[in-house]
Subunit: 379 residues, 2 copies
């Protein structure tokens, strides 16, 4: 079975974990977090597995530098899967008090979808503004476009000679050269925080979905042999699409929520979403709903409510007190409120995001980065 | 038969020309050249074939912009093959009064020989100083390192999606990914003079050896479909190595002359070089030598003497008046004189070459380039 980043389908998580030596998260390795940090990604077990996450926390404990890296393909507006990744980054940024690298994977978008980098710039601006609006602190962020980051490209070329064609085929399957090159670029992304200009070797955490694991495996294969520290990774479940079929993905736009949705869109999409409801109202009142099947409950779990609120909703569902129509209405209200608030926040980050895309590279800890923050966000 | 740039062997030029549609040079397409321009590469038929060379001269005649591009792998000191390519560039620069692009192929050197770009910097400085000392006018030159030229890298990634794996295999044979990437980089090199920042589409001439033709073919395959003008090319014979076995190449250091050779080295190498001499002095005085076999005659033809001088040497050889020992002594004298003069010229270009390698890109027609020239060469 080849799980690769370009043909993501519903995956058998347990099988993959076993096959590739990914470990389940045991709560003991997690550090004590300040009350203000939203730890639900761990508490709800959405981040369910890892490689060397303990090494990140240990390094931090010993006062060693650590960093976190993730990114997005600028091929569309943020959906709630993109939101999830960013909120994980925000959590780690607070937990580890470290620099977070956010890669706008415009080369991958081209290799995968065929849109050349000039066509994805506008989307990149919007995506970056979303990232800051969701709470990533620009003062400790490094945001860049793959096509504009010479370090990443240099690493890609460097490692092209360290990996055999047979390995590429074994890891990714038989793919076009552009996708192998995109994979090399992503090795460059993952190792960027260890570049001398970034302070040299350090433990770097890369929160990903399991479909991105080939990049992690390949990077781990070559990192230590070449003077880097092997990257750590965490793995999260993805929220299913609203029809319950597979992960929420840009490939299936009708059944996912995006940040560009109007109130009407949200209402329509939620109204049509798969629930665990019974065939008739009478039956549901009697037997209760089936929250395990319900994409609305999942949405609440991932994105909307606290664990206590969610538990209440599940109880009411199971006992037939809360029917799907009313439940959906509540979620629609909360969702439209969230989107509306988010848009207002996002607006003020558009000028900074535009400047970042124009420059191609933004380091909030550099002098130039600090100036940009001051210019566009004030103090 | 696959002729690729990485396994160059003695080649059947005629067969290749027929197979790949390369045309012999007919003297009519050559423009009238000013007396001061050394046209021996055409006159001696060393440049023996081309693709669309007429288009270059026609474009020039019509007042359209043209450019010339070639380059070197910074994997060793200049040998007389490298000298030949540069002198062709100098000829074209004078003939076409145009900008010449000279690529220091440090990525190709890495892909091919395994020396990472930090290891080849010193060689790059020396190579670039040689280029200017041989007469390339820095005021109309664009000299760059592949690893530092974002346009080239961007084109490489762009075209990675336009060429199938099957095409790569058909053109280059089954090669490691790093060599395919290096080929893509070279498509980027060839198209660089047509980048918007360089004035957009134009006819570009690329003087190469036949072993480099795959890059030309592949670039021609994709250029027009993607808004570029198909590059033109010329093909030259390579001087044989001094043992007469194959082309003079860095792969066979003992039988080639380099610019780093001492007078002693030159004397030793020339003394051992293959000639067309007979078994005994008596026999040679009687029958004359065999200049067709002689690598010294070839050296004279390519690098040392005018056509008239060469003709005289051949006549004296054939009639037994000039024996190999004396002939070699004359050539040794001329060679050591050339090398010594060249070294003096080269010295004054080292600071500029160093600045170019530090920056990675030098455009003699830009404001920054003009400043550098003024700073390091005066007016």
């Amino acid at each position: 079975m080849i799980v690769d980043p370009w043909t993501s389908e519903t995956v058998d998580y347990k099988k993959i974990m076993k096959e590739f030596g990914i470990n389940p998260i045991s709560q003991e390795i997690l550090p004590d977090a300040e009350q203000s940090i939203d730890m639900r990604w761990f508490k709800n077990n959405i981040i369910f597995a890892h490689r060397d996450l303990d090494k990140i926390f240990n390094a931090k404990k010993q006062g060693k530098p650590v960093a976190v890296l993730s990114g997005i393909k600028p091929s569309g507006e943020f959906h709630f899967g993109s939101k999830q990744v960013v909120e994980e980054l925000v959590m780690f940024q607070k937990l580890l008090k470290c620099k977070v690298y956010y890669c706008v994977a415009d080369y991958e978008a081209y290799a995968d979808n065929g849109d050349w980098i000039d066509k994805t710039k506008q989307t990149a601006v919007s995506n970056i503004a979303d990232v800051f609006a969701l709470g990533l602190d620009p003062k400790h962020s490094y945001v860049y476009l793959q096509s504009k980051e010479p370090i990443v490209q240099e690493y890609a070329f460097y490692f092209s000679k360290k990996i055999t064609n047979a390995t590429f085929k074994a890891v990714y399957g038989d793919k076009p050269l552009s996708l192998y090159m995109s994979a090399l670029i992503q090795i460059g992304d993952i190792l960027l925080p260890q570049h001398p200009s970034q302070g040299g070797p350090k433990n770097v955490l890369v929160p990903v979905g399991v479909d991105q694991d080939p990049h992690i495996r390949l990077t781990r294969d070559v990192a230590e042999k070449n003077g880097f520290i092997s990257p750590s990774s965490t793995y999260h479940y993805f929220i299913r699409s609203l029809d319950g079929s597979q992960k929420m993905s840009k490939r299936n736009p009708d059944s996912m929520l995006t940040f560009a949705d109007s109130d009407k869109d949200i209402k329509r999409k939620i109204s049509r979403a798969l629930t665990g409801g019974r065939d008739t109202v009478e039956e549901q009142k009697k037997k209760g709903g089936n929250p395990e099947k319900c994409t609305i409950i999942e949405l609440s779990n991932y994105h909307i409510e606290s664990i206590a609120e969610l538990q209440q909703r599940i109880n009411k569902c199971k006992t037939g007190q809360l029917l799907c129509g009313e439940c959906k209405q509540q979620i629609i209200t909360k969702l439209t409120e969230f989107i509306s608030k988010h848009r207002k926040k996002k607006e003020k980050f558009i000028p900074l995001a535009t400047a970042i895309v124009e420059r191609g590279i933004f380091d909030g800890e550099s002098e130039e980065g600090k100036k940009l923050i001051k210019k566009y966000l004030g103090d």
